[in-house]
C-alpha cells in the first residue's frame, strides 16, 4: 500500500465496488492465512508435522485475487503457497489443517499429498501436483471448455516466477492466446526460486512476455491488495467478454524460507528480509482500514483472538482426526464403478 492522505484512501475500496465489510473480510482472510502459516512453522518445529511450505508475504495478493473472482463459478488452479487464496475462495482452516496432518478427511487429497497441494472439487479448486507449472495448461483447458460450452466462468491459475521458465507456462500462454480463452494467469513473483534470486532466474520481465503472446501483461504491486483486486477484476471482465487471457505479475517477497527444510540466510541477508518485512502488505492494509475509519486496534485484537480460536480448533481437530486406513493406499487408481466419471 502506498501511504497517502486519509481522505483519499477512504474511498479506494468503495471506488472498486467493495463494501466496508468486504474490505475488512479481505483483511481477516489474509490475517488468517498469515496466522495459519505461522502456526504450521511452530507445529513443524515442535515435531507435530513433518513439513510446511510457507506463503508468508504473499497473502495480500492471493486474497485480493480470490475476492476479485466469481467464487460461485470460476475455476481455480492455485500453487503451493496459496493458503490465502484457497481460504479466500472458501476452504476452511479445518480443511487446511486436515491436509497438514495428512488425515483421511482432508478434502484436498485424503492425506495423500504434501500440504499446499490443493484440490476441492465443490469449490472448483483443481487438484495440483509438485512438478511446477503443469497447472497452466490445465487452466487453459478449463477455459477452452468454458468457451466451447458458452459458459461465463473463467479459470485463474498461479505459479511462482521461478516456474515461469517452464515450457508449460509458455505453451499454455500461447495456446490460450491463439484461442482467446478466458483464463487469468497470475505469477506470484516472490523474488526467489528456493535459493535462486530473480536476477539469476528470469531474463527480462515476466509481465512483458505477454506481449509475445498477444495479450495484456500487467505488473502490479502484490503488497497492495486493492490494486491486485482491481487488476484481477478487470482481467476477469475482459475474459468473460471474450477478449482473451491476461498475464498478471504480482510483485512480492517471500518473507519466510522456502520451506521448513530450508535455511534462507545461507543465500540472503537478514537486512534484506527486514527491508521487505517493512513493506508487508498485511500491515499496510490494516493501516489503510484504520485510516478509513473502519478498523481499530481494539477490533484487531478481537479478530486476532477469533483467528487464534479458529486455528486452535482446527489444529486440535486435524491432530485428532484419524489417518487413512493403510489399505486405502490401493484405492482410486481407476474408477471403481460407473458413477465415477465414465459415460
Amino acid at each position: 500500500m502506498t501511504p497517502t492522505g486519509s481522505t483519499q484512501q477512504a474511498s479506494r475500496h468503495a471506488e472498486l465496488g467493495l463494501s466496508d465489510d468486504q474490505a475488512i473480510d479481505m483483511y481477516a482472510t489474509m490475517l488468517t492465512a498469515r496466522k495459519f502459516d505461522e502456526r504450521n512453522l511452530l507445529l513443524q518445529r515442535a515435531g507435530k508435522i513433518n513439513f510446511h511450505v510457507s506463503g508468508i508475504g504473499q497473502e495480500p495478493a492471493q486474497v485480493a485475487a480470490a475476492f476479485a473472482l466469481d467464487r460461485e463459478q470460476d475455476y481455480f488452479l492455485p500453487y503451493y503457497r496459496d493458503y490465502g487464496f484457497v481460504l479466500g475462495v472458501g476452504m476452511t482452516v479445518r480443511e487446511l489443517m486436515l491436509s497438514v496432518f495428512a488425515k483421511a478427511e482432508d478434502p484436498n487429497s485424503g492425506g495423500r499429498q504434501m500440504p499446499g497441494h490443493f484440490g476441492h472439487k465443490k469449490l472448483r479448486i483443481v487438484t495440483g501436483s509438485s512438478p511446477v507449472t503443469t497447472q497452466v495448461p490445465h487452466a487453459v483447458g478449463i477455459a477452452l471448455a468454458a468457451k466451447m460450452k458458452r459458459k461465463k466462468f473463467v479459470s485463474f491459475v498461479t505459479f511462482g516466477e521461478g516456474s515461469s521458465n517452464q515450457g508449460d507456462f509458455h505453451e499454455g500462454c500461447n495456446f490460450a492466446g491463439v484461442h482467446k480463452l478466458p483464463v487469468i494467469i497470475m505469477c506470484e513473483n516472490n523474488r526467489y526460486a528456493i535459493s535462486t534470486p530473480l536476477h539469476k532466474s528470469v531474463s527480462g520481465n515476466i509481465y512483458e512476455r505477454a506481449i509475445g503472446y498477444g495479450f495484456p501483461g500487467i505488473r502490479v504491486d502484490g503488497n497492495d491488495p486493492l490494486e491486485v483486486y482491481r487488476v484481477v477484476k478487470e482481467a476477469r471482465e475482459r475474459a468473460v467478454a471474450g477478449e482473451g487471457p491476461t498475464l498478471i505479475e504480482a510483485m512480492m517477497y517471500r518473507l519466510s524460507p522456502h520451506s521448513t527444510s530450508d535455511n534462507d540466510l545461507a543465500y540472503r541477508t537478514k537486512e534484506e528480509v527486514d527491508e521487505y518485512r517493512a513493506k508487508d502488505g498485511v500491515q499496510h492494509y490494516k493501516q489503510y482500514l484504520i485510516d478509513c475509519g473502519i478498523w481499530n486496534e481494539e477490533k484487531d485484537a478481537e479478530l486476532l483472538q477469533k483467528i487464534r480460536a479458529v486455528i486452535d480448533d482446527a489444529t486440535e481437530y486435524g491432530d485428532r482426526a484419524p489417518f487413512p486406513q493403510p489399505e486405502s493406499v490401493l484405492r482410486h487408481v481407476y474408477a471403481e464403478d460407473d458413477r465415477e466419471g465414465g459415460r
Binding site: P131, T134, H138, I142, M148, V333, A335, E340, G341, G342
Partner: protein
C-alpha cells in the same frame, strides 16, 4: 457390416462418439482442415466444426495439458499426438498429471481423456517417425493402454476409450492404417478394455502379441499349418491392465509360448507377460518362454536395409514359431 481399413475404423469411432456425445472433441496438430497427416480425422471438421475438431499449436505438452484441463471440467477430449515419437514432451503431463489425478485427489477429480498416437515403423520414417513408446508408459498405474490390431478392435476399443472414466492411451499402428482391413459394424459397439482375444486357435505353440506383428504371425501360422504346426494366437489388445487370465489360458492351451512385439526387447511388455507366466504356471510350460522383439537400439534407421533388419516380418516370425514348435 462393411469391410473397411483400420484407419477408417478409427475415424468412424470418433465420428460416432462425437455424434453421440457433444462433449467429445478432437484436438491436435493438423487435425482440422487437413484432417490429420494420415487423414485419420478427415471430414470431421466439416461435420463438427472448428471448435470440436481443433487445430492446436505445435505444442504437445499443451495439447495434453489442455485436454487434461478440459477432461477435469467434464469434457471428453481425444488428443492426437501426430506421431508417438513426438509425445515425449507431453510425458510429464501424462505421467505426473493425467495418471495421478484421481489418485492424488482421493477420487474427488477424474481425467477421462483419450490420447491417440500412431506407433511403429516400416514406413521409412527413420528414428523419429517409427518408434514404439509403449514401454515408457507401461507400468504407470492410473493409465490404461490399448493397442488394437484388427479394424474391428480399432473402432470398438476407441469407443470404449472415449467412454472410459480414466485416461487411456490409444496406440494405433500407422503401418496397419491401410494394410489391415476387416469387417466393421456400422452400428454402435465397444470392445472392452482389459480383454485379450484369440485370433486363431491351435495346439502346438501359443503366440502372444499385439499390434502389427500379429499380421506376420497370422500369415506365418497359415503357412506353418501346411507343415502340420498349428499356432494359437492371442492378441493382447489392452497392454494395461494386462488380461492375466486370457494370457494364462492361451499359454495353457499349448504349453509353449512365443511373445512378439516391435518395441525393443529389454524392458518391453514381453518381460511382464513372461513374468506372469513364470509366476503362475512355470511347471506347466513345455519349453522356455521365447521373445521376438525389436532390437535394443535407440530406434530404427531410415535406410532400407537397416529398416528391414530392424522390422519384424513374416519370415522372422515364422522361423521363431517353427523353432519353438520343434523344441
Amino acid at each position: 457390416m462393411a469391410r473397411m481399413e483400420y484407419i477408417d475404423a478409427i475415424r468412424l469411432a470418433m465420428k460416432e462418439e462425437m455424434e453421440r456425445d457433444e462433449d467429445v472433441f478432437v484436438l491436435g496438430e493438423d487435425v482440422g482442415v487437413k484432417g490429420g497427416v494420415f487423414t485419420t480425422t478427415k471430414g470431421l471438421q466439416e461435420q463438427f466444426g472448428e471448435e470440436r475438431v481443433l487445430d492446436t499449436p505445435l505444442s504437445e505438452s499443451a495439447i495434453a495439458g489442455a485436454a487434461i484441463g478440459a477432461a477435469m471440467y467434464g469434457m471428453k477430449p481425444i488428443a492426437e499426438m501426430q506421431y508417438s515419437d513426438f509425445m515425449f514432451p507431453a510425458t510429464n503431463q501424462i505421467i505426473s498429471e493425467a495418471a495421478k489425478i484421481r489418485y492424488r485427489s482421493n477420487n474427488d477429480w477424474s481425467c477421462p481423456l483419450v490420447i491417440r498416437a500412431p506407433i511403429g515403423g516400416g514406413i521409412f520414417g527413420g528414428l523419429y517417425h517409427s518408434q514404439c513408446p509403449e514401454s515408457v508408459f507401461f507400468g504407470t498405474p492410473g493409465l490404461k493402454i490399448v493397442a488394437p490390431y484388427t479394424a474391428y478392435d480399432a473402432k470398438g476399443l476407441l469407443k470404449a476409450a472415449v467412454r472410459d472414466p480414466d485416461p487411456v492411451l490409444f496406440f494405433e499402428n500407422k503401418k496397419c492404417y491401410k494394410l489391415v482391413t476387416g469387417e466393421v459394424p456400422e452400428t454402435d459397439y465397444i470392445v472392452p478394455i482389459g480383454k485379450a482375444n484369440v485370433l486363431r486357435e491351435g495346439d502346438d505353440i501359443t503366440v502372444i502379441s499385439y499390434s502389427l506383428p500379429l499380421h506376420f504371425a497370422l500369415e506365418a501360422a497359415e503357412e506353418l499349418a501346411q507343415e502340420g504346426i498349428t499356432a494359437h494366437i492371442l492378441d493382447l489388445r489392452t497392454l494395461q491392465p494386462l488380461d492375466k487370465e486370457g494370457i494364462l489360458e492361451a499359454a495353457r492351451r499349448t504349453g509353449k509360448v512365443l511373445i512378439i512385439h516391435e518395441d525393443n526387447k529389454f524392458g518391453g511388455i514381453g518381460g511382464e507377460v513372461s513374468a506372469i507366466l513364470a509366476e503362475e504356471m512355470l511347471y506347466e510350460l513345455d519349453a522356455p518362454i521365447m521373445r521376438l522383439c525389436g532390437p535394443d537400439v535407440p530406434a530404427m534407421p531410415i535406410n532400407p536395409p537397416s529398416e528391414k533388419f530392424f522390422m519384424l516380418n513374416k519370415d522372422k516370425v515364422k522361423e521363431a514359431m517353427r523353432q519353438l514348435a520343434q523344441y
